[in-house]
């Protein structure tokens, strides 16, 4: 647990802080997230990259839950299951962390059309649901669903076509 924490806590805390905007709340979210991961330790069987994805996703969900609670909306009741990542074939996070580097993610995001990037960021960092995004951007719900999906698929494609960083 300590090893996992030491490896991922800086990124986890940065993510929670970015979403929540205050240290104590970010700390609580990170602590809860790591405890959630720890409680699933017996069944977690993921590669390094997938484990990082799992931890960051749990931190993200915890932080968004807090953000939504502040707005008076209901948080999920059941923690994310690590099994979601076991079904995944390719390990994108592994490739990014081990060979591409984080700048590759920033470059890939910049390559997305604004109409896809904006709703993705509203969802991921502001905790808005697709319905809230549709209302805010005055777009049909179906359009927002498509843009969120297409944006992620393009991000995946962009990262797949990134050349590996020279060591």
């Amino acid at each position: 647990m300590e090893i996992l924490y030491d490896r991922l806590s800086r990124q986890a805390f940065a993510l929670a802080y970015r979403i929540l905007g205050d240290g104590p709340a970010a700390e609580d979210a990170v602590q809860e997230a790591f405890l959630t991961v720890w409680r699933q330790a017996e069944k977690v069987n993921l590669s390094r990259g997938k484990l990082s994805s799992f931890v960051l996703t749990v931190v993200h969900h915890k932080a968004i839950d807090v953000l939504r609670a502040r707005k008076g909306t209901i948080a999920r009741q059941v923690p994310l299951d690590s099994g979601v990542f076991e079904k995944e074939g390719e390990d994108v996070m592994d490739r990014v962390l081990l060979t591409l580097g984080r700048d590759a993610v920033r470059r890939a995001l910049k390559s997305l059309p604004e109409e896809q990037l904006q709703p993705m960021q509203m969802a991921y960092f502001e905790g808005m649901t697709h319905a809230e995004i549709a209302e805010t951007l005055r777009l049909p719900l179906g359009t927002v669903k498509s843009r969120l999906r297409l944006g992620l698929e393009k991000l995946r494609t962009a990262l797949s076509s990134e050349p590996e960083a020279e060591s």
């Binding site: 647990m1 300590e2 805390f13 990170v30 330790a41 995944e88 697709h130 992620l152 995946r156």
Partner: protein, 227 residues
């Protein structure tokens, strides 16, 4: 919910942008349907967004608080015999990405553990390593106080015969307590990761027992390692 609807919601699902009701419906569908491997991948892609936040050092107190919570039992309740072996192996494997393949995980594990602790100078208690031998078989017992974990690796040991098993004991004040089993594969290598604390004066021992294990040792130890 139909497969098409799940696919339509895949982006919002991966970005955690569904309402709790929609989320529950999607997850219920996914639990019983294996036609959406790409959707699982999208969740990892969404996690990429989390990497764009520049790293920040959390307060030191957070680490202390978290570890205290884990030790106080907020983590999984683990009986000594119900060891999360795969999870710990995976965790240790996940830290070291150097090519250990071919060396054998069992043999590599002790090296990895020791390397990890050497790589973290000034942090907590160092690993305690004991060598063990029995005939042509040899191995090591590595106790990692910070992780409350003991790793046993052996090489050159024949797999247990049919109906038998290798059982691992922590002998405390002369009283043996079962802490797990040692699996040995056809290549005569074995490993066991056990969640346990070892105090000074205790002995880790391995005996051959009937399959399923014994409440107390019924044979003389093959290996013994004093701490």
């Amino acid at each position: 919910m139909r497969c098409e609807e799940v696919e339509e919601l895949s982006g919002a699902y991966a970005l955690y942008a569904l309402t709790p009701v929609e989320l529950a419906e999607v997850e219920r569908h996914l639990a019983g349907c294996d036609k959406h491997p790409a959707l699982a991948g999208l969740t990892s892609v969404a996690a990429m967004l989390g990497l764009t936040a520049p790293e920040m050092e959390p307060p030191v107190e957070l680490r202390t608080r978290l570890m205290e919570a884990v030790r106080a039992g907020s983590g999984p309740a683990l009986a000594p015999s119900a060891v999360p072996r795969g999870a710990i192996l995976q965790r240790l494997r996940g830290i070291v990405v150097t090519p250990l393949a071919g060396y054998g995980l069992a043999a590599a594990l002790a090296v990895v553990v020791v390397a990890l602790l050497i790589a973290r100078p000034g942090r907590g208690n160092e690993a305690v390593v004991r060598s063990i031998t029995s005939g042509a078989a040899s191995g090591r017992v590595v106790y990692i106080p910070d992780e409350h974990v003991t790793v046993l690796t052996v090489d050159g040991l024949a797999p247990a015969s049919a109906g038998k098993t290798y059982q691992v004991w922590d002998i405390r004040g002369g009283v043996p307590v079962s802490i797990g089993f040692l699996e040995v594969s056809a290549d005569r290598r074995g490993n066991s990761v056990m969640r346990t604390d070892i105090s000074s004066g205790e002995v880790i021992a391995v005996t051959i027992e009937p399959e399923g294990g014994s409440p107390l040792p019924t044979t003389d130890p093959l290996f013994k390692a004093g701490f």
